[in-house]
């Protein structure tokens, strides 16, 4: 029995029933940029960076199940331009000061920006006011860098069973909140062993007093680009 396949950028990509286009592509060694996807969680498709064209229609590849015979375009100028714009949107919306960010070099947002050749966020930055939460003895939350991927929300709810994180607000005021009347992380049950501690693709959820321990050259995306890392260890990357 031959495996089911769809076509992506002219190559056959095998997939298992129920697998998304993104998961199948990554498993087959074809990189599609993404930010809010994580192999361990049900995809929800909010960042839209993984948008591909399926039979001519743009769709988020993480939430679109692969189907036999689909013709998928991914690594084409039009879509890469679209993705670059979405990454520019994210940079415009938050306060992404890479030069002093301890996640720099290991940050997926930054690495996808590199991958897509982004040299500027282009739009007029919004410079939102997002105070940090340092109340927890071992964890710092720097909301300035949040891209609202909800991976921490999902990890805390589904793996840790704690619901430490939620979202509030709407539109451009949507923001991450913690599950405490004080609004402070210290008043939640978060612990450093939680899954939610390890899923943030950017620099929001940080172990305190660990910043800059990894020297330049040894950070996650220093030696290899995110496209190489993501297809070399798709499961690992998703973690």
């Amino acid at each position: 029995m031959t495996a089911k396949t769809f076509q992506m950028d002219g190559h056959d990509v095998p997939f298992e029933e129920g697998q998304s286009i993104l998961a199948a592509a990554l498993a087959a060694g074809s990189y599609v940029p993404y930010l809010c996807y994580h192999a361990e969680f049900k995809p929800h498709g909010s960042c839209k960076v993984c948008t591909v064209k399926v039979n001519g229609r743009t769709q988020a590849s993480c939430t679109t199940p692969a189907r036999e015979g689909d013709v998928v375009e991914s690594n084409v100028d039009e879509l890469n331009e679209l993705r670059k714009n979405l990454v520019q949107f994210l940079f415009t919306e938050g306060n992404h000061f890479c030069p002093s960010c301890e996640a720099s070099g290991g940050c997926a947002l930054q690495a996808v920006g590199y991958e897509l050749g982004m040299t500027t966020a282009h739009y007029s930055p919004l410079f939102p006011d997002r105070p940090v939460d340092a109340s927890h003895p071992d964890v710092l939350l720097d909301f300035n860098r949040c891209i609202l991927c909800e991976l921490c929300v999902r990890a805390s709810s589904l793996v840790d069973g704690k619901n430490v994180f939620s979202l509030s607000g709407r539109g451009i005021t949507k923001h991450l909140i913690v599950n405490a009347e004080s609004g402070k992380l210290a008043d939640t049950t978060l612990s450093v062993e939680d899954k939610a501690m390890s899923v943030c693709p950017v620099g929001v959820i940080l172990r305190k007093r660990r910043g800059f321990k990894a020297p330049i050259g040894e950070r996650r995306y220093d030696a290899h680009s995110i496209s190489e890392v993501a297809v070399a260890h798709p499961e690992d990357e998703a973690k």
């Binding site: 000061f97 920006g113 966020a121 282009h122 930055p125 410079f127």
Partner: protein, 188 residues
């Protein structure tokens, strides 16, 4: 010390002006970090206004490299002079591109910033906020260059590496569209 014969070059060189607005000069340092390649570069490039020369205001130039964001009124005025004079204008480095670290004051009230530094500053005696007309006033927020003028190219990094700057300049000199290949785009 041996003194070589000085030749005032006559060949048409690429005329380049550089400046630092609300920057730290790190981008200029990175430009100097091309090291020995400065020699061949300066055979192809004529420096106009720049922190490295005594030309204080740019004349008509082929290329303007600007480091630093817009922090005060003077920055805005100087940027506009550069835009008028330079055919191609480049935002060099994080500050020029997104305000950079100085933009971390953007969520603060500038009045409060000034007060903290000059009135309640540690070890300050008889403090007050400097208010002489010689001093340019700070803007409410720090802005990237493209908030005020058209920018032709963005050269990211804090600072962009010497390799990135070299690649960019050699592309421009050769008349190519500058392209930062893999590993040369960095935001930190």
């Amino acid at each position: 010390m041996t003194r070589a014969a000085v030749e005032i070059p006559t060949k048409k060189k690429l005329r380049v002006a550089t400046t630092s607005l609300a920057g730290c000069f790190g981008c200029h340092m990175s430009l100097l970090d091309i090291d020995e390649r400065l020699v061949p570069l300066l055979e192809l490039v004529e420096l106009d206004a720049s922190p490295l020369t005594d030309i204080k205001h740019p004349g008509p130039c082929d290329l303007g490299l600007i480091e630093g964001g817009l922090c005060n009124a003077d920055n805005v005025r100087m940027l506009r002079v550069f835009r008028e004079q330079c055919k191609v204008l480049v935002a060099m480095g994080a500050c020029a591109i997104n305000g950079g670290l100085p933009a971390q004051r953007n969520h603060l009230d500038i009045r409060d910033c000034l007060q903290t530094v000059y009135l309640s500053g540690h070890g300050v005696e008889r403090g007050f906020i400097p208010n002489d007309p010689e001093l340019p006033l700070p803007l409410k927020q720090v802005h990237p260059l493209h908030d005020v003028v058209k920018i032709d190219y963005f050269l990211p990094g804090c600072p962009p590496s010497a390799e990135a700057i070299w690649q960019f300049l050699t592309d421009i000199i050769a008349g190519r569209t500058p392209h930062l290949g893999h590993g040369l785009i960095k935001y930190d």
